[in-house]
Amino acid sequence: MAEEVLGDLDERFYHRTSNQSTRRAKLDYWMQVFNYLRPFALRNFIPKHLLPNLMLKHNLTLTFRNFGRHKSTFLINLIGLSTSLVCAMMIYLWVNDEVSVDKYHQHADRFYQIMEWKELSAGVFVTGSTPGILAETMADEYAEVEYAAVATPASWYSGVTLFVGDKGVKTSGKYVGKDFFEIFTYPILLGNKEHLLDQKHHIVVSESVAKNLFGDAQSAIGKTIEYQREKEFTVSGVFEDIPRNSSEQFDFVLSSEEFKDVNPNAFKWENSGPMTFLLLKEGVDIEAFKAKIAPMLKGKTTEDHRQLIARRYVDAYLYGGYVNGVQSGGRIDYVQFFSLIGILILIIAAINFTNLSTARASRRVKEIGVKKVVGANRRALVFQYLSESIILTFMAAILALLIVWLLLPQFNQITDKQLILHLDTNILVALLLMILSTGVVAGGYPAFYLSGLNPIKVFKSNLFSGRTNFKELFTRKGLVVFQFTLSITLIVAVAVVYKQLEFVQNRDIGYDREHVIHFPREGRTMENLDVFLQELGKVPGVKAATSMGQSMVGGGNTTDMDWKGKDPNSRVHLAIRPVNFGAVEMLGIKIKEGRSFSQDYSLDSASVIFNQTAIDIMGLEDPIGETVGRGEFQFKIIGIMEDFHFQSLQSEVGPLFFCLAPQYTERVVVKLESNATRETIARLEKFYSDYNPGFVFDYTFMDEEYDRLYAAENRVASLGKYFAGVAILISCLGLFGLAAFTAERRVKEIGIRKILGASYFRIIGLLTRDFTGMVLIAILVALPLSYWITSSWLSDFAYKITLEWWFFAGAGVTALLVASLTVGFQTARAAAANPVDCLKDE
């Protein structure tokens, strides 16, 4: 309350005490106070303490003067904060993009994907592959279903060429049920949404394909498109290009009725093929519906190991992982991991600010004392220091925005995204939150610490003469330890990820994938494959040419295989790879027993080669010559291959067999001479465009394809590398600042020590000891922590490196080295100073 009011109240109180009891006087006092709760009194109360404009201007001036006076501290803080904000912003952009994937469909809350849950001998296996007939059957049998549609994954028909006359474009497409666009609400630009796929010969294309082939979307309607020079379709509609944040990217869709002709097997209940999507009616109890559909397949087939499960489509992208039939992880792991890293890096930078400001506190302690004596209250001081840190963060944020804008192309390359720095409200709000929270976290401790100092103590005691109190020292050291713990953990983690990836990519996986390319069979190569392969073999630089089912890393599976002595309850998922003659030899797969396919034997079309794992699982004693299969498909085992990794090393080698079926092979595989690969490919391009006019020679290197299996891990590694670098950089900046400060404060002590005969190295040792200790503690904390984190990451891999002691030792030594270099630079300068210079004044 205002001074005069307090005075009046006191005066009345003492007046009363002289002629009344003290209790009555006190009571009266409070009555008077309550009587003062009037608008005028309260109104006076608020603005008096803020003095908004004046204080703000005063604070700003002080802030900038402080920046100017302590340039190194200012720069350290600015660099630290802006670097960390760059990381945080990039992570925010990435996370934002990941989270937005597949979220834009209109009825997301009742949009479900139906998946199969299969109980196999090796455990439960969850897959999006379902019988093609499932969607329409569910629409018929369940009243809860509003729309149902089957859809093939875009990856099945990628690299398809669509022609109009001579003009062709490489595209990928899907076969979908007629209600596909009711469920996936991609905007339809042209055509009647209800009748897009009424006819088998209908095709709906994306806007860019339409423009590419016909010049503009409008004129595409009703025109004919040739599919791979095999079939003709009529354009019945045009949809808007699929947005980038869709997990499925495709350029055209065809009718599922057409797909029934192309692949009738996919529509049998026994088989699993395309995916099934449902749009449920509003108000359907999903749990009851799930329970209802679970046993549906049992009624359709004689098998009982397959169940149906439903999951919301919006969850499919982030929560795609299943471990033994239970949802667990997926991309969300990376989203959480990187969000955590972003926050940690911000914290590291905030710690620098806190540390440097408390360290500098002794310098500003007089300023605070004077201010308090003159009448500043605590709130004003807190406000001043917080505004100082927020202003600094704000400057850092502007710098960071600039850097993000410059680095975004590189970042996009690493993350395989097309992020743009689009300053809409969301981003601005996020940015503002980031600035405010970082500013408050960074400035909070010094603000409350400094404003709480007692002015009398400030002037009387020697707070500013050298020794600081234990609590302050402890906090400061604790923060440095925390910083370095994080940095070291990150270094270890990145090193382990790198080593593991190196191990995976260089491991002898059992087949030779160097200098091998493959490309789709299309156009003229569909017929006369043998002739084509022969011609191909004649191209200079080509060692051999053959064909295979799909690529080695992706392909079909079957459980329909019986053999002698098979346990009737066992269900084994066998990978099938149809191959042509010469494939086994080209890939250098070792035959352990028996022989490979050979043109010398006329009956080889009914022969198979198993890998060792498959034979072990089947438990056949004398496998060569045995007959396996089911129903009309009976095969003779002619050979056994040594195991090779046809999948990611995250899983163990599964059972697999090769069958000789050139008619089912979809990819042409070519082994090139190891020298002059580029020239050979140029020649192949020429050869291909002559042989198969209009088609683009779209090849894939087998080793690159193999590396792509680890795309997510590679991304983590390369991003992690930068983040670890940033973390250690910021930590060192902080240490640098602290070391500089300590050296400066102890300059007289050093001078006196030197005069008394301390050697140069002794002084360096004296100054470095503190910091070395902190980093050592950090190492002690970080090593078990990083061991735990890395070993849990590695446990995802079936084949992995062992964690060597020197990963940890290396990270520790690196941190120690970098820290001592940082500190050493400062201390060496302090130790080398001439004692006269530092002792002459005072």
Binding site: E4, V5, E11, R12, A41
Partner: protein, 114 residues
Amino acid sequence: MKETRLGEFEEVILLLVGILAEDAYAFKIAEEFESQTKRAVSIGAVHSALNRLGEKGFLTSEMKEGTAERGGRRKRIYTITASGQRALSEARDFRMALWNQYPAFSTDNLNFNI
């Protein structure tokens, strides 16, 4: 424009400020009010009225040195302004005009208890 009418309570307070002159601060005014009118009043009410009068431009105030009795805190001393004087005399004239119009004017049975 701000309201410049003078309420009854305000009029009394304004007069007391004039009477107390150099000693016119909230506590003293409240004391004086109580002793003159025999009505209890809180300092808050007096202060609020003083504040209102200040806003109406009838009073000015300045801080004066305090006494030990009030913990060395300063006092806010109020002074009537010219417009305050005018408002007082207008109020009196208005009252007198009313009295003059009152036909049964008699000082004997006047019961002045508002």
